[in-house]
Assembly symmetry: C2
DNA sequence: TTCATAATTAAGAATATATCCTATCTAAAA
DNA sequence: TTTTAGATAGGATATATTCTTAATTATGAA
């Protein structure tokens, strides 16, 4: 979706490149994602597609969003959203998260903790915690990928 | 749970302080949280409590974990775990998240992006993204709290 | 243009996670 | 002890997501 400067490719070109058919439903979802503000849940998209495709199913929306995410057109805000996970370590720390197997590794990063807050944050509200997530592929998953 | 130096208070003292009864189920869950490694889901806890309380219900586990979280004994790894939310902004950016209303505000933070990776990260795996989440209460929710 | 085919879809069933309801029980204060 | 607000078990319910299947359709090849 929204990418800097780059000349905007047409939806059909994008779909062709990643090997997805240009169905009307898919084109509509693509367009909505380009228009919509904020960080929509699947249901938000579903509600909007239904205006033009009243009989579209939840499944189509979910599937399409997953495909788009898989091909890097959109991202999930969080990678561990399937179920609630608790942290029993109450000391300030950050996480390395494997986006493949969801493994989490705790670590501290004092140098980063010391960076002063960016401009304008205070006008959004009060900040109570600064959390960093390093996202990547863990050692185990890297090995698997090679085998 | 795991807190630095501080002299470990007994579970009963902790419960007294926050106004929760010291029931056997609750004591057991507390103990499990202190023993368990990693970042358990509710179901992980449920499976372990069942070894000593075979008839305990999911509800008790969920309720207890929520209470513990509310009183700051444990934390959720993520605050938006109820449903998947997508990000259509594919430019590198970070988030301010209101832990009360779940509002998300995008922002960039170049100074933070420049901080060199901490020691030892490379041995965990390959890092592909550095994501920062500033967690707090947004302006709107702060106002509501006062009214 | 027509055709063949694999991809896609709608619809509803199925699954997974989380919460609610209510009768019963119990920890803890008096 | 007795009292009672808080806690629990178990089942029902809600919500989010994925699966199954039969029908449809976009796309490349003829």
């Amino acid at each position: 979706m929204k990418k800097d400067n780059k000349p905007a490719a047409s939806p059909r070109e994008v779909f062709k490149r990643i090997g997805l058919r240009a169905t009307p439903q898919r084109l509509e979802i693509y367009e909505i994602l380009n228009e919509i503000d904020g960080h929509p849940a699947s249901e938000d998209i579903y509600e909007r597609v239904r205006k033009r495709f009243p009989s579209i199913s939840f499944d189509t929306v979910y599937r399409t969003l997953s495909q788009f995410e898989k091909h890097g057109l959109i991202k999930k805000v969080h990678h561990l959203a399937d179920k609630t996970r608790y942290d029993t370590n109450m000391m300030h720390h950050h996480h390395f998260v494997c986006v493949r197997c969801k493994k989490i590794i705790d670590f501290t990063w004092e140098e980063l903790d010391r960076v002063p807050m960016p401009e304008g944050v205070s006008q959004w509200g009060s900040v109570e915690d600064r959390y960093v997530e390093l996202r990547g592929i863990c050692r185990d998953c890297l090995k698997e990928g090679k085998e």
